[in-house]
Amino acid sequence: MASSSSNLISLKTSDGTVFKVERALAKTMKTVQAIIEEADANIYMIPIHNVFSHHMDMIIDYYKLSVAGKSKEFSVEKLDNDELKDFLLAVHYLNMEDLFEVLTQAVADRLEKKSVGYVRKYFGIENDFTPEEYAAIRKKNDWAFKGDDIEPEEDEEKQEE
């Protein structure tokens, strides 16, 4: 049971794990901060529904690194695209500005210079354009000067059928 004078805030993730975090870390989560301010001083436990315990682990890692001035060492390379998406959505829900910027940059880095086919394949996105729509878009985007595509255009033949 957390008393009002404690410096730790209890956060309960979607999978039922309770994390006791420093008040300072909780402050970086604007959603949590709003809950604390809205409720009484004696808040017992804050549920964070869209966040899993493995997300909290990474959040705590990031916090520790940034406090030590080493936030540039934080990396999400080991996450696959779906895991990154879930983490991004969790951090978005918690409204954590700095970490959110880091993650959107990570996504932008994964999109950099990749062909449209590659992006669809590795981000699991379905092409919902009609062939005519898509052909019209490709023609319009003449000016993109897309440069080197690292992966060849996939499914392009199928599109223009």
């Binding site: 549920p47 959505l89 829900y93 959107t104 940059q105 669809r120 996105i125 354009f129 023609k139």
Partner: protein, 452 residues
């Protein structure tokens, strides 16, 4: 009795207070659960718009466009950003527009990218027909002349109703045009597109202060205008002074700076200033003020080798450039060696106009305040290196990228050349172009397409 009522009332208040808090908590939990359900169903195509916009803002121009081709929901976010002009993609290096390349008997326009060293040929014909010519560029706009446009002069000062060309700003991506005046009070000529050797604008036409200045080929006059003027205004060389022939122009903060030279020996003589903005507000023609005179002496004083070089089959090229952020006017001297099969740039010397005891003079500088200068015979642009993203070598500040199409000589066919000069190290690197064949009268200029 009273006490009991009071007690009951306060108890009710307390209870309702607790209930309120309790329902609030329940509502919040419900909202969280709903959000949680939604988010679980979201794959990458359905993540919140807000997140997609932030990702978009971190993409380069090419990636930005590809983003809009992935699926309909991403395309929607992409299209909204174009309509609302936000977020914008990361700024990128200008491309070299190589105009009038001759490819398989077809006049084409190519765009060369410094980033991947590739030449691009837009599928949509860039200039349809041979009546469209590009004279300059600024901020994603090309300044064009259409020699086929038939605009009859309604002024009685022209006795013959000749066709005048139309001049306009053109952004090829949204295909937007802003017209410039077509009336220009000069005698009729056959080759309109050769009228101006250089055309500079102070900003894009969407800015209220947009000024356009043009240098006539050979005749050494200047014309200037704003997008909504009725006609161009012309400045003539005063008293036909042979020592004050106009060689180059540059616009900065509403003033037009003119580099003058002597007619015969291409010795630069002075920098003049015409206050165009003041001329508009006072409705009187601009008068020349001498900013710096005896320019050649100042240049030689700073670099004594020049006089020797002139006699060794070298040529000197002078260009004006300005940095609108720092307000600095630069004079660039390029020494080109014609002793070999093809011209070789040997040295770049950069001066800035500085004030010593309130007297403007040339001072040699070894940096551009962190900027990168893109220079060609048609235009000069200084871009702050800090705004660009890309490979370190490419976007390093205090570099000059110089592109030039050297005129045909016996030993050297028409060819464009790009060199990169590093002001810090003094090294000059030639950047090879993928062998284009050139058509008649090719030209090149730096162009940075913007999507709106």
């Amino acid at each position: 009795m009273k006490h009991w009522v009071f007690f009951a009332a306060s108890f009710m208040v307390l209870l309702s207070g607790c209930c309120c808090k309790f329902t609030k908590k329940r509502e919040m939990k419900k909202r969280d659960e709903q959000v949680s359900k939604d988010e679980k169903q979201r794959n990458w195509s359905k993540i919140p718009t807000q997140i997609l916009e932030l990702i978009l803002s971190r993409l380069s121009r090419a990636d930005f466009y590809r983003f809009g081709e992935v699926c309909t929901s991403w395309r929607h976010v992409f299209k909204q950003s174009i309509i609302y002009r936000s977020p914008s993609p990361l700024p990128s290096m200008p491309l070299l527009l190589l105009y009038r390349l001759h490819l398989f008997n077809d006049i084409k326009t190519g765009l060369f990218s410094l980033i991947d060293r590739k030449m691009y040929f837009p599928r949509i014909p860039f200039f349809q027909g041979s009546n469209l010519h590009c004279l300059g560029s600024i901020n994603g706009w090309l300044i064009m002349i259409d020699t086929n446009a038939t605009r009859l002069s309604s002024s009685s000062s022209n006795s013959n109703h000749h066709r005048f060309p139309s001049f306009f700003f053109w952004n090829p991506i949204p295909n937007a045009r802003v017209m410039l005046p077509s009336r220009i009070n000069i005698p009729y000529r056959a080759n309109w597109y050769k009228l101006f050797s250089k055309l500079k604008a102070s900003s894009g036409p969407d800015s209220p202060d947009c000024l356009v200045a043009a240098l006539f080929t050979g005749q050494h006059n200047i014309a200037f205008c704003r997008p909504h003027d009725e006609s161009w205004n012309i400045i003539y060389v005063e008293n036909n002074n042979p020592n004050a022939v106009f060689a180059d122009i540059e616009l900065l903060y509403g003033k037009c700076y003119v580099l003058t030279e002597t007619l015969n020996y291409r010795n630069i003589t002075s920098i003049l200033v015409y206050d165009l903005q003041e001329s508009y507000s006072s409705s009187s023609p601009p008068k020349a003020k001498v900013l710096i005179s005896q320019l050649h002496q100042q240049v030689e004083y700073n670099s004594p080798n020049i006089r020797d070089l002139i006699f060794q089959n070298h040529q000197l090229f002078f260009y004006l450039a300005s940095d609108s952020i720092s307000g600095i006017l630069y004079l660039i001297l390029i020494i080109v060696d014609y002793n070999n099969v093809h011209p070789i740039e040997r040295e770049f010397i950069v001066y800035k106009v500085d004030n010593f005891n309130n007297v403007p003079m040339l001072v040699r500088v070894m940096d551009l305040n962190g900027g990168i200068l893109f220079l060609s015979h048609r235009d000069s642009k200084i871009v702050p290196s800090s705004t660009l993203t890309g490979h370190e070598d490419l976007i390093r500040g205090n570099n000059i990228y110089y592109a030039h199409v050297y005129p045909y000589t016996e030993n050297c066919p028409l060819m464009p050349r790009i060199v990169k000069f590093c002001m810090t190290s003094g090294r000059i690197n030639h950047i090879p172009l993928p062998n284009p064949e050139l058509g008649s009268e090719p030209t090149c200029l730096w162009f940075n397409p913007t999507i709106w």
